[in-house]
């Protein structure tokens, strides 16, 4: 039993953190000309080349045969760097295509030749939201109980709308009846959903940690009343609570990753728990971080709000929090 990353796992963390902190610093300037022009999109081919999309695919599918643990640790860094959800959609789409024996498509996605963006259904409505979907070759529709990889032509009436998360573009669209794609649903979709939840949890952990670090840095630097604001317990205690939530969310994500990798019986339980705890960590930490930054926290130029908004976005992928809670309650321990 060992929940500390192995040397090989550490290598993946270092490599990802090194590249992303250099190429994709979380600074509002990155999205100044709009998310579609942000450096993330330009970096995707390099991510593909580094094997990030195919990381967890088996070698027979042209992947690297790494486990869910490496993918989880990679996506924690991806979440910290607020990389476009296209990367996440690509990983899941490649896995879906591989499961269904579509080897050409799997290869095209894994090498970054075919880009995949994300679509989520409007809760209660009949429409869909497309995320960073401009110019993508495929669209991955993630519903609560099915996942479908579609040709973009399956969607019509596409129109750009303002995005809560300013780091992505958002469109509303309708799905043409009879549109067919590669789909898994019901019990067949369970393994894919475990992966979806695991990677979402991982990205949320990265976000929760990022805002914790921003807050600690700020509290150690900012002076008021002649002292660092971090000496006020009304500041330092919320930081401590952020650390507690990060530790809980990271530990659970690590444990869930191991169970998913080893196909344990409790995989669904553990990933659902990971997702629930990580969402709370990301949202609660971001809210606290905004407060601890004062006026700066409310300013669009300061990056904390990006994490808050991304957390809300990720919550909508594959079943929002209420559904996750219902699922977890229903399970047997």
């Amino acid at each position: 039993m060992d929940l500390m990353p192995s040397p090989e796992e550490e290598q993946i963390i270092d490599m990802a953190r090194g590249l992303l902190s250099k190429e994709l610093p979380v600074d509002y300037l990155r999205w100044e000309e709009g998310p579609a022009k942000a450096a993330d999109r330009a970096l995707l081919p390099q991510c593909a080349e580094l094997g990030w999309i195919a990381l967890g695919l088996s070698e027979e599918h042209g992947g690297f045969g790494f486990g869910a643990t490496e993918e989880m640790l990679l996506f924690r860094e991806v979440g910290r760097a607020l990389v476009t959800p296209v990367l996440f959609a690509s990983v899941i789409a490649a896995r879906l295509a591989a499961t269904l024996g579509e080897s050409d498509l799997t290869a095209a996605i894994a090498t970054g030749n075919a880009t995949v963006s994300l679509a989520v259904p409007d809760a209660g409505g009949s429409g869909y939201f497309l995320i960073d979907a401009e110019g993508s070759d495929r669209i991955l529709l993630v519903d609560h109980d099915s996942v479908t990889l579609l040709d973009p032509s399956a969607f019509s009436n596409r129109s750009a709308i303002r995005s809560l998360d300013p780091t992505v573009t958002l469109e509303s669209a309708v799905l043409d009846s009879g549109a067919a794609g590669l789909q898994v649903g019901g019990r067949d979709a369970e393994p894919l959903f475990r992966h979806i939840s695991l990677l979402i949890a991982a990205m949320l952990v990265g976000a929760a940690e990022a805002v914790r670090d921003l807050s600690v840095a700020h509290a150690s630097e900012r002076t008021q009343f002649g002292q660092k604001i971090g000496t006020f317990q009304a500041v330092s205690h919320p930081c401590a609570d952020m650390a507690v939530r990060c530790e809980a969310a990271l530990s659970q994500a690590k444990l869930a990753a191991v169970v998913v990798r080893d196909a344990g019986d409790d995989a669904e339980f553990q990933v659902t728990a990971a997702r629930i705890v990580a969402l709370d960590a990301a949202l609660s930490n971001a809210a606290a971080a905004i407060q601890l930054h004062g006026g700066m926290g409310f300013a669009a130029e300061y990056p904390v709000h990006f994490y808050l908004k991304r957390a809300h976005l990720l919550d909508q992928v594959g079943g929002r929090i209420a559904l996750q809670l219902d699922d977890l309650f229903a399970l047997n321990a």
Partner: protein, 384 residues
């Protein structure tokens, strides 16, 4: 990363499970009084006779010297078997004994360690005073040197099981002129010494679990000072390190067991079948209790690499305290009018609910844990 236990660990688990199945007392643990003490000591004796006493103690002192992973397995099986709370043996086994092992003289070790392991000697902790709780180093109980003795005068409070104890970890100020952390000594106090008066204090959960202890010219041999005169602060820190260490795993496992029992109750209740509010709050708690277990695994993994627990023990402790309180409060809501009947602190729901309030006070309050996390885990500037 992996969750695999080695074949040796699996064998060990089987051995533990088999022994517990045959030896865990069937009777309910009495909630207080001499019967409780007798019960706790008998259970300790039984573990000693079975070769299971002092699982975390080094072998040279009669313990089993288990690795942290083996200790985890022991506590998992312990909870699974419904084995009783360690009770009056807590201080001796989990921090008094280990403090002597780390800091005591040979004489001190040989006269106490075997008796603690055999369930023949009860210890208590005399650290807190009416004027000194979180700010422990401000303590004022005096120990004046008179020949080869210390003469102690003053008062301690919140001394758990003080009314049953044979010995006490006692912190006294032996140099009133030194800076406050420098003039303290850690001494072994015989609770039967003339001049000691113990007054039990009832807790909000209904039992006299802790005490006030008054010292009136109590003579303690200087040979009972542990770790050197005026060096007591350092010794006390090692005691608190043990207190906040692995002994606490039992409570973490117990929390998960209790939560699952509550969820099972709710699932069986027709009137709650559509109460999605309660169901979702329980689901959230379930996710967090799962995370607590994952945190325990993470911290054990870190300890195995680093060889010692660190400040992140405070994270676990705080999280555990808060979750235990949430579980307690939810149990009250779910019980409805049944919550009006008080149970013992280890039984049913209402006793544990009331007891849960102590989880963010005893052993360092939640606020003190947050201070530790802020300063030692996050490196924030020190607060006052």
């Amino acid at each position: 990363m992996n969750l695999d236990f080695t074949p040796e660990d699996d064998l060990f688990r089987q051995e533990v499970r088999a022994w517990l199945a045959d030896n865990v007392p069937r009777e309910v643990r009495p909630a207080d009084g001499p019967d409780m003490k007798a019960f706790d000591l008998a259970w300790q004796k039984r573990q000693y006779d079975g070769g299971w006493a002092g699982i975390a103690w080094p072998q040279e002192y009669g313990g089993r010297g288990f690795s942290t992973i083996q200790q985890l397995i022991w506590y998992q099986e312990y909870a699974r078997a419904g084995a009783p709370y360690v009770g009056v043996n807590f201080v001796g086994l989990l921090h008094g004994g280990p403090t002597l092992i780390a800091n005591g003289s040979e004489e001190q070790k040989t006269s106490h360690l075997p008796r603690i392991l055999k369930g023949e000697e009860v210890w208590c902790q005399g650290f807190s005073e009416p004027g000194s709780g979180s700010d422990l180093a401000s303590l004022r109980t005096r120990g004046e040197i008179d020949g080869d003795h210390l003469v102690v005068n003053g008062q301690k409070i919140w001394t758990s099981f003080g009314q049953f104890a044979d010995f006490q970890e006692l912190l006294v100020r032996t140099d009133p002129d030194a800076p406050k952390h420098k003039g303290i000594s850690w001494v072994i106090c015989d609770m039967r010494s003339p001049g000691i008066r113990v007054r039990p204090i009832k807790t909000i959960a209904g039992h006299p679990e802790y005490c006030e202890v008054f010292y009136d010219d109590v003579r303690i041999p200087l040979a009972n000072v542990v770790g050197g005169l005026n060096n007591g602060w350092r010794v006390a820190m090692s005691t608190l390190g043990f207190e906040r260490g692995t002994g606490f795993m039992a409570e973490q496992v117990r929390l998960a067991t209790d939560l699952e029992a509550l969820i099972a109750t709710v699932k069986a209740r027709v009137d709650l079948a559509r109460d999605t509010d309660i169901q979702r709050r329980l689901a959230r708690l379930r996710a967090e209790v799962a995370a607590l277990q994952a945190m325990t695994y993470s911290s054990i993994s870190l300890n195995e690499r680093r060889g010692a627990p660190g400040a992140e023990a405070s994270i676990l402790r705080l999280y555990h305290g808060l979750l235990t309180q949430r579980l307690g409060r939810m149990s009250m809501e779910i019980l409805g009018a049944g919550s009006l009947e008080l149970t013992d602190p280890e039984e049913g729901w209402t006793g544990p609910y009331l007891y849960s309030f102590s989880r963010t006070i005893g052993g360092g309050t939640a606020e003190i844990q947050r201070n530790i996390i802020a300063e030692r885990v996050l490196g924030l500037p020190r607060s006052r």
